[in-house]
Structures are given as structure tokens and as C-alpha cells.
């Protein structure tokens, strides 16, 4: 399955490094990455493939949320279909 990871919060050094290390350890492949500042917030969206994921989806989400808390940003992971169904006819 392909999912979208969003990272929102105040910009600081090492956010991408931290998140991508975590993903690499869980065997998650990053397909696309996009970073911008929206309404004064650092906003990163990542398209990832979870085909080779080595832990459960629930565990991966938990790890992402925990690392988000450490970095002071909010991290979500959602199957890409929720965005597709909302924004594509």
C-alpha cells in the first residue's frame, strides 16, 4: 500500500533526517517528497510505499507520532486513497 506522511510544525534542523531514518529502519521506501512553508508552518508531505514494511502499520504510526513529539511537530500517516477519493473524481 502507498501512504502519505505529513509533518507539520515549526521548522528546525534534522526533521527530514529523523523521519527518513525511522522510515528506512522500518523498510519503508520514500517515493516522493515535498517540503514547503504554509501559513508560517513547516509542511512536509511524503509519498511512501509500505509494501516491504517490516512492522505493523499500527507500530509504524506509533513510532512516527513519538518521534514527532520529540521534534515538536505533528506527524500523520494515512493511506493515499483518503486524499485521492476527496480530491479526484
Amino acid at each position: 500500500m502507498r501512504a502519505i506522511i505529513t509533518v507539520i510544525g515549526v521548522d528546525r534542523i534534522g526533521i527530514i533526517a529523523e523521519v527518513s531514518t525511522l522510515l528506512a529502519e522500518a523498510n519503508v521506501n520514500i517515493l516522493d517528497i515535498n517540503q514547503t512553508v504554509l501559513d508560517d508552518y513547516f509542511t512536509m508531505t511524503m509519498l511512501v510505499s509500505l509494501e516491504a514494511l517490516e512492522i505493523s502499520l499500527e507500530e509504524l504510526k506509533k513510532e512516527l507520532v513519538e518521534s514527532g513529539e520529540k521534534l515538536g511537530v505533528s506527524i500523520r500517516l494515512q493511506h493515499e486513497d483518503i486524499f485521492r477519493s476527496m480530491h479526484r473524481i
Binding site: 505529513t6 515535498n34 508531505t45 502499520l57 504510526k61 500517516l77 493511506h79 483518503i82 486524499f83 477519493s85
Partner: protein
């Protein structure tokens, strides 16, 4: 790839605007559970529900994780019990309600609906037993919900049933006087009840439905309100367009969840209900949408027109987003479950009469309204009759879910907590409807019923 703005719009809807799926409701036919022996019938009912719905909560939770979208309630609706229990000789059907409650607890759902009877034209012996069992059944169970359909556009209004339901609502409240009359909040009196409604307390699995279906109820008043803040002062054409677009997006999410849940559970996808269902949480209010349109407080003049536009635009946006739309599909205006409605009542801006007018242009009726404990059964019946008449004449579903709170009067409030919220006691007319309700019989079906 999707662009960042689109992704962020969805995230904002979920995070800040309280967008969620209100309910995933599994409808289960119990028609093969009828048995001459009540005990045996209940055993079959329990086994069938546990068998079919055993994975419902688990699957819903998996979907919550996969899409990171909250599914607030998982529910079950069943064939109206009066139809199933009719085969047995039991004197009352309270035991059937207890069986439903046990099954609901076993599979972990929040509510189970279908302790119901359809009596819009007349009552069978079983319908009478069921209706007489409602107060004890709701007082002795936690998760069971009950509904009675007392009128349709085709059949007119069964005024004997209307008279009786006033008394039943009173009894429900009195039996649970210690808890603010909470049993009455689990009972809905309908006109033109839909067979595939996923929302409680009025959900039941209609006789025209399949063996097992998944129906989904969306939510999202907060997202609509937020979208409207961007068109402040613009003409209504813009307002309607904005609501339509938002409703489309919200409904697509409901459709996604309905499809996924039905596939994972291996049952037929039924309908997506487009109703905007509020919750007592701040920012999840239908009243605030009406106020965003420009009425100072919900209930001020203009509110009915605002609601008519909202209800229509939600349907127009939602209908293209889903393969099958059904259930109630209209804006809900429950008082206790909507922070803006509660405030409007407390400010004296919103009266029972205004709410009645509002129900003529939206779903679903006088919902979650607390009345003074001294309100008579005849007055409650008359409220039901007025509301049912609106439904009958306008070819739409209307319902009454009122709670005559024992020992409380206007100026006080009752607190239920959770999704049921809190409700200020509303004033009812002090003039009598006793002679009107005492007539009984049927109000004939209106001319609108003769469409063939």
C-alpha cells in the same frame, strides 16, 4: 502526486474541523430467527448477531488506523423485533431487548437499533406487545434503541398509535427518572421511517433490505462552517456552491469507508447517509453553520431559509460522491447534541415552535429535546402528531425524540454526557390537546399519496 494544498485541506478538516465518520452501522436481517419458542428465537438472534458482527469493531478500527480518520460509533440495526417475535407466545418482549443488549456488548458495538414496530396503518398483536414492552426494555438495557413508525404519506397517521406513544414516552422517562429520563432518548417516533438509516436511535433493518448490509453515516458540520468563513458576505449562490463542494469531499470519505468496511467484512455495501450530524464538541455544530450564514443566533428569523439552503446543498454535493445515498440524508438539528443549539435555547432565541418550522425543510425532526417533567402524555402525542403531519404532507421523514425530564422545569437543564450532551428544558404550550388526542382513529393519507 497529490498537491500539498489538497493534502493539507484534508488534514485540516480532520484535525481542526472535527471531520469524522459518525457511524458504521451493520444491518442484519433476523427474519430466519423467528421461532414458536421465544427462548429458542432469542438464542438464534444472539448467535446470528455475534456471528455476523463479530469482526465489525475490529474492521472499523483497522480502517481508522489505515486512513487516520475517527469512526465515532460502531452500531448494529436489526429487523423490527415485532416481526420476529410475533411467532412466539411470549406475553412481552423485554427478554428480546435483553438479548439484543447482550449481543451488542459481546461484539462491542455502541448501540443496537431495531426494537421497533411499524404501525402506520394498524397494529398486530405483536406490535402491541412490543410497544407496551418499550419502557421496561429501554430502562433495563443500555445499548438497545427503539423506534415506532406511526405514519406514512401513503397510509396517513395512525392516531391510536400516536396517542399510545405519548404515554410510552412518558413511561420511559419516569422509569429512568434517576438518570434524567434517559430511556426516552433511546426512543424515536417516526413518520416515513427509512429502512436503511444508520443513525440512532432510529436505525432498524427494513424488510426490503438484504441479509446483511453496511450503512455509513458521515459527519462534518465543522468542515462546512470553516469553508463558509471563506465566503463571508458573498451572495447565497456562493454559499450554496461552497457547501456543495465541501459536502462532496466529506461524502467521498464516507463512501471510501463504506466500500472498505463492506469488502473487509464480506457483506453488501448499503448506503451512505449524507446527514450532517453534529456533536456537542465545540466546532461540530449545525447551528454555527446557520449563524455563519448571517443569523445572529440560530432561531432568529431567517434560520429556516438558511437551513433549507444548507440541507439542499449538502444533498446536491453529496449525491454525486456516493454510489448509493440513503437513510435520512439531511441536516440534523438535535438540541442536546449541538453546542450552538444549546446556546440558542439558553439565549431564548430558539423555541419549540421554531424548531418545528425548521423540521419542515430538513431532516429529521424534533430531536433530543428536553421538556418539563410535567408535560402530559397528550401534549407529547400532539407534538408527535404535528411533526408526523409535516412528514406525511411533505413526503419526508420526520421524527420525535423528546424527553419529559422528571422533576425538571423550564430554566433547568439535564446532562447526559457523551454524544447525547446536555439539554436545557424547553417550554411547551400550556394549553390542552387532550380532546384532540382522545379521538383516535386514523388521519387519512393526503392527496399527495395518490401518485399512481
Amino acid at each position: 502526486m497529490l498537491n500539498t494544498y489538497e493534502i493539507m485541506e484534508t488534514i485540516r478538516m480532520l484535525e481542526e474541523e472535527k471531520l469524522d465518520i459518525r457511524t458504521v452501522t451493520m444491518g442484519i436481517s433476523l427474519s430466519d430467527c423467528a421461532d414458536g419458542d421465544g427462548e429458542r428465537a432469542r438464542e438464534k438472534i444472539y448467535n446470528k448477531i455475534v456471528n455476523y458482527a463479530g469482526d465489525l469493531v475490529k474492521v472499523a478500527e483497522e480502517i481508522e488506523i489505515k486512513y487516520d480518520i475517527p469512526i465515532i460509533n460502531k452500531r448494529i440495526s436489526v429487523t423490527p423485533i415485532s416481526l420476529i417475535a410475533a411467532a412466539c407466545e411470549d406475553k412481552d418482549y423485554i427478554e428480546f431487548a435483553k438479548t439484543l443488549d447482550q449481543a451488542a456488548k459481546e461484539v462491542g458495538v455502541d448501540f443496537i437499533g431495531g426494537f421497533s414496530a411499524l404501525v402506520h396503518k394498524g397494529m398486530t398483536a405483536a406490535d402491541k406487545k412490543l410497544i407496551n414492552s418499550i419502557p421496561e426494555a429501554l430502562a433495563q438495557t443500555e445499548r438497545v434503541c427503539s423506534s415506532v413508525n406511526i405514519g406514512t404519506t401513503r397510509a396517513g397517521l395512525n392516531m391510536d398509535a400516536v396517542a399510545q406513544m405519548g404515554r410510552i414516552v412518558k413511561e420511559c422517562a419516569e422509569l429512568t427518572a434517576d438518570n434524567g429520563g434517559v430511556a426516552a432518548s433511546k426512543l424515536v417516533v417516526f413518520a416515513n421511517a427509512p429502512e436503511d438509516n444508520p443513525f440512532m436511535a432510529g436505525a432498524f433493518h427494513g424488510v426490503g433490505e438484504g441479509e446483511c448490509m453496511i450503512n455509513v453515516g458521515i459527519s462534518g458540520p465543522g468542515a462546512v462552517k470553516a469553508a463558509l468563513t471563506k465566503v463571508k458576505g458573498e451572495p447565497f449562490d456562493q454559499v450554496a456552491e461552497t457547501i456543495k463542494k465541501t459536502a462532496f469531499k466529506i461524502t467521498r470519505m464516507g463512501q471510501l469507508v463504506a466500500k472498505e468496511a463492506s469488502e473487509k467484512l464480506g457483506v453488501t455495501a448499503g448506503i451512505v447517509d449524507l446527514s450532517l450530524a453534529p456533536t456537542p464538541a465545540v466546532g461540530d455544530s449545525v447551528a454555527r453553520i446557520l449563524e455563519e450564514m448571517g443569523v445572529e443566533v440560530a432561531g432568529a428569523h431567517g434560520t429556516t431559509a438558511a437551513l433549507a439552503l444548507l440541507n439542499d446543498a449538502v444533498k446536491k454535493g453529496g449525491v454525486m460522491a456516493s454510489s448509493h445515498v440513503g437513510g435520512l440524508s439531511g441536516a440534523f438539528i438535535p438540541v442536546s447534541e449541538d453546542a450552538g443549539m444549546i446556546e440558542a435555547v439558553e439565549k431564548g432565541a430558539l423555541s419549540l415552535e421554531k424548531l418545528e418550522a425548521m423540521t419542515a425543510v430538513c431532516s429529521v425532526g424534533l430531536d433530543m429535546i428536553a421538556l418539563p417533567g410535567k408535560t402530559t402524555a397528550a401534549t407529547i402525542s400532539a407534538i408527535i402528531a404535528d411533526e408526523a403531519a409535516i412528514g406525511m404532507v411533505n413526503h419526508k421523514t420526520t421524527a420525535v425524540r423528546v424527553i419529559p425530564v422528571p422533576g425538571k422545569d423550564v430554566g433547568e437543564e439535564v446532562v447526559y454526557g457523551g454524544l447525547f450532551g446536555r439539554a436545557p428544558i424547553m417550554k411547551v404550550s400550556e394549553f390542552s390537546s387532550i380532546d384532540f388526542i382522545a379521538r383516535g382513529g386514523r388521519i387519512p393519507a393526503p392527496l399527495q399519496s395518490l401518485k399512481n
